[in-house]
Each structure stands twice: as structure tokens, then as C-alpha cells.
Symmetry: C2
Subunit: 205 residues, 2 copies
């Protein structure tokens, strides 16, 4: 495979997904760190060269640049056991990855960012006005996962897929956003299961 | 292919994506309508039989049920020209579909729902508190698309893909959410291009 470079903020769960996918696949990944909170993904150089959208992660593949964490995971895992071959199971994997970006990350990752990294007293009135809505929607996403995991070991099929990796990233650090994982026993067992995968790497390494 | 049934709210752009994908592929799709605003996707029967998450669309394939609009489109289009074969282009298609669910739909579809179908005077204080944030983020998503379309006819590669279909659904009715499409000339030209595709069906038919 061509040279792989991850343009990331090491605190970001979206960036961690790509590192975890590469680690489970045994792929070498160079890393370049930016501090999103200090505007380092909004410099003219970053916008011109890495991503005009001004966001990380971006997976650099040779001299091509791919934003969006879950798309980068799909690129890396193409043809591997992390993507089911069965047509319906592959669609179910994508189902949970879209769920993650629509119903999970906007709530759970945002509250972690706001409460842990920015600090509640520094939030704008606009952000403060969204906390309750994000709390309710985040609990709903966790409850949906917990119910789904009640009858199964992995989100899709009978082994780990990108759906597990995508959802693991922000779920396992959800307490930094004020969520209580203890309330979700099936999720807790699944989080534990993830750490036993051969090649697993923790978020902060 | 097995019998396909779309469980939908006909006003929903997420549901329309699946109808448009099926139409462009020439696939027959039965339709069952629910009124989400009247709680018809939250009845005990719907939760037990169709989707425990209580949301539409759900694509029924034989006796299996697949929630999440973009996953359903991927299922239907598997092996067709609507999904690029090239590994990088396929990942780019997914990139824009994840962008749609993370940066576009939560803002543009929500404002359309709130302002057109619920009515501003009936919104909760919590919803009203989010309007400005969703306005800013929605304009940012449209600006990102307009910039990207400045140098190309389709979102990915040189022909229509699921990325175009996913983004078309709520973009072409964004004015119902208070967005001014006239401000985005590249988007307007692309919207026009979409309607000329063989098999194209409008949202309200």
C-alpha cells in the first residue's frame, strides 16, 4: 500500500478510529498532530494542502487526502475481515457507522469536547443552550447500543467489524462528557471485549 | 432480488434517497407510509416489528429490516455504477455520505422539519435555542459542497454516485429550512443536472 499519513488531533475519537483500524490490520501509519482548539487545522497551509474543510482527521494516501473518519476506516479495511462479505451484513455495518455519525458522535463527542477540553464556563450561550438536547440524544444512542448488544457479542455478525471500531471510539470515553457507562452493562462488557483484540491499541498511547 | 418494502414518511428526505436510488436502478419498491409527527413510528407494533429505534426510513428486504437511509442506498446499489469500483473513489463516495449524515442532515433537515412541518411557534425552547447553531453549520455545509462542485460535475469521479443522491435529498428542499440556494450557484447547476438523470423521480410523487 502507498505511504499512509494520519493528520490528527490525538484527543479526537474520530482520529483514534483510524489508528485502531490500522493497528488491528497491522498497517504502518505515520502521524502528524494538530491542535484543533488552537486553530491549527484552519491555517492557510492546512486549508490549501490538507483539507479545505478545515477539519481532522484526514488520511493521506500517497499524495491524495481523504477526510471523514469512517470513510478512512473503510479505505484501510477494504478486503479485510473487518468488513463483512455478505451483502446484508455489510449494509448493517454501514448502518451502525451512519448511526454513529448522525446520532452518537454529534452528541457524545461534542459534550466530551465541551465539558472536558473547553470547559463549561468557557462555552458560548449557543453551546450551553444545546447541552440538554445533546445529553438526551446521547443517552438515547447509548440505550440503543445497549439494547442491540443484549443478544450479541459484536454490533454486526459474529466478529469485530468497523461498526464496533467506529462506535468504540467515543463510547469508551463517554464519561468525559458526563455519561455514566455503568448504566449500560451490555456496553461495558463489549468495551472490555474490544480491548482483548489482537493488535488493540489504547487511545492515549 | 427479494421483495423490497420501504417503511417511510413521504416528507422525509432520508426516505426519498432510497426511492431515488431504487428508481435510478429500475428496482421495484413497495411503500408503507407513517406520519412521524403523529408518533406512528413509535407504536408498540412498529418498535417490535420494524425498528426498535422508532425511526424511519427502514428498508425491508424479504423479512429483514435495515434502518439508516445511506446504508439502505448502499445495499440497493451494490455492484451497480452508482458505487465506484476504484478503492479511493469508493471511499470518497462514503466520505460525502458520512459528511451528509454528520454535517448536513442534522442542520438542514432539522431546520426544514422545525420551520416547515412543525412551525416555529410550536418549537420547544430547547429547539429554538439550537436554530442559530444549525443555521451556521448548515450554511457551512452548503458552502463546502458549492466549493467542491466548482471544479466538477458530480461529487465523486465523473458520473453520478450515491454521494450525489444522499446530498441531493435535503439540499434541493433546503429553502423550506430558510436557506437561500441562489447563494450557491454551483449547487444550483448540480441540482439541475440531477433532474436530467434517466429514471429520476421527484420527491413528491
Amino acid at each position: 500500500m502507498e505511504r499512509l499519513v494520519l493528520h490528527e488531533d490525538p484527543r479526537s475519537g474520530n482520529c483514534y478510529k483510524i489508528r485502531l483500524t490500522a493497528a488491528l490490520l497491522g498497517l504502518a501509519l505515520e502521524r502528524v498532530a494538530y491542535d484543533g482548539l488552537k486553530g491549527e487545522t484552519r491555517t492557510p497551509d492546512f486549508l490549501a494542502r490538507i483539507n479545505p474543510g478545515g477539519r481532522i482527521p484526514v488520511l493521506q494516501i500517497g499524495n491524495r487526502f481523504l477526510p471523514e473518519s469512517n470513510a478512512a476506516c473503510c479505505y484501510l479495511a477494504e478486503g479485510s475481515a473487518l468488513i463483512p462479505q455478505d451483502r446484508f451484513e455489510k449494509a448493517e455495518m454501514l448502518r451502525w457507522m451512519f448511526f454513529e455519525q448522525n446520532s452518537h458522535e454529534p452528541n457524545i463527542a461534542a459534550l466530551r469536547m465541551w465539558l472536558r477540553f473547553i470547559g463549561e464556563h468557557k462555552l458560548s450561550p449557543q453551546q450551553r443552550g444545546q447541552i440538554l438536547a445533546k445529553r438526551i440524544a446521547g443517552e438515547d444512542a447509548l440505550a440503543t447500543m445497549d439494547r442491540h448488544l443484549g443478544s450479541r457479542e459484536w454490533m454486526v455478525g459474529s466478529s469485530v467489524t468497523l461498526a464496533d471500531i467506529a462506535l468504540y471510539a467515543y463510547t469508551h470515553v463517554a464519561e468525559a462528557g458526563g455519561f455514566r457507562l455503568h448504566d449500560y452493562p451490555q456496553i461495558c462488557a463489549w468495551l472490555e471485549r474490544m480491548t482483548t483484540l489482537p493488535g488493540y491499541v489504547p487511545m492515549h498511547d
